[in-house]
């Protein structure tokens, strides 16, 4: 009987100890999770004179200051975009986009390299459009690439999904 009780006590202690560690870790991670952001990115290929074309959507979780890289590979083009969200002191987000483009035009044998850094203050849920190849005009005859970026609070998303 004593043995049975001892084993039971040890098991209960082990369970409580493990549970306590999980709670500690969860408590420690909570401030990070509260600040976590979800970046919804839609890459759109805009055909000439058309509103909709090919598009691809992706979502990534990050924390302010930690960047997400988007790489687009095409026939004659390589685009590297690094998106970094930052919290500003005024409570707004600052989205910084670094773009690098390597483009080989068919008629020419050389490769063009362009780089840019853009930033824009935005609010959570506000959509931003980034054009790494420049803004197309209505009558332009080539394809263009547009990135739609939306930043959401991961905590809000969790609360919404719980509801």
């Amino acid at each position: 009987m004593v043995k049975r009780i001892s084993v039971l006590i040890l098991l209960v202690m082990a369970i409580f100890r493990g549970n306590a560690q999980e709670i500690e870790l969860e408590e420690a991670l909570r401030p990070i999770l509260d600040k976590a952001l979800q970046l919804n990115i839609i890459a759109r290929l805009l055909p000439p004179d058309a509103e909709q074309g090919w598009n691809m959507q992706s979502s990534k979780l990050t924390i302010p200051g930690r960047s997400i890289a988007v790489k687009l590979f095409g026939e004659n083009i390589r685009i590297f975009i690094v998106l970094t969200p930052y919290w500003q002191e005024n409570g707004k987000l600052l989205l910084v986009a670094q773009g690098e483009v390597l483009l080989s035009e068919m008629a020419e044998s050389e490769v063009k390299y362009l780089s840019t850094v853009k930033s824009i203050p935005i609010s959570l849920g506000e959509k931003v459009l980034f054009f790494p190849l420049g803004v197309p005009e209505r009558l332009h005859k080539s394809f263009n690439i547009q990135l739609e970026i939306e930043i959401l609070s991961y905590k809000d998303l969790l609360e919404k999904s719980a509801d």
Binding site: R17, A28, I68, G74, N76, E126, F131, P132, L133, S142
Partner: protein, 183 residues
């Protein structure tokens, strides 16, 4: 000279051959002491021959009960089985349990050991403290270097799409952008 008791017993068992048998017989007629001895032997033998067989039922019953007890001891469940430990071994085990208990208690009190804590400064910034052995931190940093500190999305654009740079890269709020509007 009188024959020994063994010789008399052998005579009684018809194990003594002639001429010694006749000598003993003649002696017994003359020696009342030996005659008395041989008579006692004969009487004892007759008494033994007349006596009934001993009653072993009690001892058999005791033996059966002993065997039953042994069998029942062998079938004792794990929780009721007794374990015999030498006193020094038992003392060492108790000491070890006490030391382990204290160690566990100390480790649980030092909650920041090999763990992470986050302190929020008055300015609002958060300070993340990670307590871990140096080897673990080095391994973590190497792992971060190898894996890269940022996440990547790789998108393969459709084939047969030729791109041109139409201007400088731009970024706008979606609400402020209209395709028709030249920027």
């Amino acid at each position: 000279m009188c024959p020994s008791g063994e010789t008399l017993s052998a005579y009684l068992d018809h194990e003594v051959e002639d001429p010694w048998k006749k000598v003993i017989e003649e002696h017994l007629t003359l020696c009342p002491s030996c005659k008395h001895k041989i008579d006692e032997m004969i009487f004892t033998r007759e008494q033994l021959a007349l006596g009934s067989a001993p009653d072993f039922r009690d001892s058999q019953e005791r033996g059966r009960s002993c065997l039953a007890r042994l069998n029942s001891m062998q079938q004792v469940s794990f929780w009721r089985r007794r374990v015999a430990l030498p006193l020094p071994a038992a003392a060492a085990a108790v000491l070890l349990m006490i030391i382990l208990g204290f160690s566990t208690l100390l480790l649980s009190l030092r909650s920041d050991y090999r763990s992470m804590s986050i302190r929020t400064q008055p300015s609002g910034t958060s300070e993340v403290l990670v307590t871990a052995p140096i080897e673990d931190l080095e391994r973590m940093l190497k792992s971060l270097e190898l894996n890269g500190s940022r996440q990547e999305i790789i998108i393969q654009l459709p084939k047969e799409s030729e791109f041109f740079v139409v201007g400088e890269a731009e970024m706008f709020r979606a609400a402020e952008y209209k395709r028709d509007q030249p920027w």
